[in-house]
């Protein structure tokens, strides 16, 4: 584990005010490192509160004053300098806007990966270096290791498989990985809480956050409505036809952003056999529905690919591929089909391959790379 290295270095810890990153700060501090606590202010939760059906008050959410307060109290307790850095503009440009645009065009985005790629391991790393910290530590459950034989930095799954966050980290470059420490990679969540208790951290029992940090209550449809209304843009009219896989028009739908591939409820049509959303066509605003058997597919194309354990795919490669956060990696073969495109062919057809999500490739515990499902 990297945190037990004997040398002392200056490390910036990305502190969210949660148990994981707070424990990281306490651990590194106890190991004798010069630790600097940084919290990224990414989104003003009060901005949309009370608008378009959004909750009036939001508590304990990312970037809320409560979380900043918690992070600052931990920093004071363990005696490290602590700063809040504002990256709201960049977050809105690189995470919120693409998130909204993806939904409006019928895809199902993962903002956490965008945030990791554009904010946490980009902007924060720059700030860390600017203020004299060569590396950044976070509370992610993942492992980083340098592979001498390949001459590459590897991203690996953590000891606690149930907390594995590598799916959201597939976009990390070699440069970013070389400057990143994940001190919790060898620990389980209960061990982390126990360590937090031993360090006397008051937030050792603070509940985990599960939902998307800027969408309080997890109601992303309301969030999109409120955001577009605030921007004076209004939701584009994406209402259209509900069509079966045979081309039969079953009726109308209220907008493609209300649907996600694999969805069964809320289709607004009654038929004998259960219907699922098979495909969302942004171009002609059609939602294509069909029986469950149509949900299965053997191939996908990943674009905007980032490779980690290898520098290129010169020949087909056998891997396991994860197509959503809670998906058991499935055996597949990768084939390069373009400068920035990989064809993934699964051994067994996979259910509900969803455009906008990431496909992340694993070789055992090692993340080979990943891309965005197109």
């Amino acid at each position: 584990m990297q945190s037990t290295e004997q040398t002392t270095e200056t490390i910036a810890v990305a502190m969210s005010g949660g148990v994981d990153s707070s424990t990281v700060a306490a651990m590194l501090c106890a190991d004798g490192h010069n630790v600097i606590g940084l919290t990224m202010q990414l989104w003003n939760q009060r901005r949309l509160s009370g608008k378009e059906g959004m909750p009036e008050s939001v508590q304990g959410r990312c970037c809320s004053l409560d979380d900043v307060y918690d992070a600052r109290r931990v920093a004071q307790q363990i005696g490290i300098p602590y700063y809040v850095v504002n990256h709201e503009e960049r977050f809105e440009r690189d995470v919120i806007r693409p998130f909204v645009a993806e939904y409006v065009s019928g895809r199902t985005p993962i903002p956490c990966s965008l945030c990791n790629n554009h904010l946490k391991f980009d902007q924060l790393l720059i700030v860390a270096q600017q203020i004299g910290a060569e590396r950044v530590a976070t509370g992610h459950y993942a492992r980083v290791a340098y592979d001498e034989a390949r001459g590459r930095w590897l991203l690996k799954r953590p000891a606690d498989a149930s907390k594995d966050q590598t799916y959201f980290l597939f976009g990390l470059t070699q440069e970013q990985l070389s400057r990143t420490i994940f001190p919790l990679g060898d620990m389980t969540k209960p061990e982390v809480r126990e360590l937090a208790r031993r360090h006397g951290l008051a937030l050792a029992e603070k509940p985990d956050s599960q939902e998307i940090c800027f969408v309080p209550g997890g109601d992303y449809k309301r969030f999109i409505d409120a955001y577009l209304a605030e921007q004076g843009e209004g939701l584009p009219d994406t209402a259209g036809e509900l069509v079966t896989t045979n081309g039969e028009v079953l009726g109308e739908h209220g907008g493609i952003h209300n649907f996600t591939v694999g969805q069964r409820k809320g289709l607004g049509v009654a038929t004998g056999s259960p219907l699922y959303v098979i495909q969302i066509s942004g171009a002609n605003k059609q939602v294509i529905v069909g029986g469950e058997e149509h949900l299965y597919s053997r191939t996908l194309r990943a674009r905007r690919v980032n490779l980690i354990s290898v520098d290129d795919l010169r020949e087909p490669m056998r891997v396991a591929v994860k197509i959503r956060h809670r998906h058991e990696p499935a055996a597949a073969v990768l084939e390069k089909t373009g400068a920035d495109e990989i064809l993934v062919t699964f051994e067994e057809p996979q259910r509900a391959i969803t455009p906008g999500q990431a496909a992340v490739f694993y070789d055992g515990d090692v993340v080979v790379g990943g891309g965005w499902i197109s």
Binding site: V68, P81, Y83, V84, V85, N86, I126, Q130
Partner: protein, 388 residues
Amino acid sequence: MRRIYLDNNATTPLLPEVFEAMQPYFGERFGNASSIHQHGQQTRAAVEDARESVAALLGCRASEIVFTSGGTEADNLAIAGLVGAGDHVITSSVEHHAVLLACKHMEEMGAEVTVLPVDGRSLVDPDDVRRALRRNTKLISVMMANNETGVLQPVDEIGRIAAEAGVCFHTDAVQAAGKVRIDVKRIGCDALSISGHKIHGPQGVGALCVRKGLRLQPLFYGGRHERSRRAGTENVPGIVGLGKAAQIAKEVLGRGDDKKMAAMRDRLEQGILAQIEDAAVNGDGAARVPNTTSIHFDHIDGEAMVIALDLKGVAVSTGAACSSGAIEPSHVLVAMGLRADQARASIRFSLGKQTVAEDIDIALALVPETVARLRELSPTYRKTALSS
């Protein structure tokens, strides 16, 4: 590590003499200044002595001083105390939020508000003030010195305009007090705000000088303290501290220490500009208080600069801090016409009475290397360097 404090516009260290003057009022001299008995008489005398010292600093009568909890309350008292529904207020876009947001609140309560623009040096044009006057104009509120740039507004001229029009004039002198001479008669203002902790006095105390005879609606209701202008038992240790700080500020200005401070500030400013390219003073060319310089360094993130310098022991600041501790681009710098990236790349250095030549030497050694490192790691700087 030697720590250098160059953020005296945020707050100043308490002078030892001030601390000493305050101490008895935390101990044996505990009386309520409104009490009849000897305990009360003792603290009453101390409060009135302090009032005279503050009046002497500002050139007003002692009875015109209202003690408050600080500059923010003084500003709020002046604005909410003088303006009502249907009245018109004129203010500027570079005021402190204590003034701007108080005016905004009065707008919500039915007042009309004109916020005047400023030029590239952050100066209000007195002609703009004249043109903004309306039949129902009740108050003009324009600051004396800006907290971020140190630029001095033409308050004497604005005071004359107000007097001619028969309109009240309030000036927020929180950042001017102790740095330049203040004479409320010369300014011709009806109300003037100051704060204790900006003049090496304690935090939590300030004063509003209100012209005799001017009716002021109080902010709080309660006892008849401060001639019914500010209810609540006096903060005696704070008031004593403010009085002592005001007395010292007057003496120091009389000795011409402001010129020494200006020389030190100029050495810092010139030294930085000589060593660092693509840097410029915000408000350059305007008259400024002697302790402040605000400089933008292209292609740096001011926030990272403040953190980097803090970790090296140099305390400076960028724009106004918001509640979470994160920094938003300064409304003052944006109003002056700086691009958002320049506003975000601005650093304010502000000197205090405790600042010595060695502090400036250290700052001059550390600031250029810090800017160089920030630029080296700035994606936009690298791009510009490659394309040029």
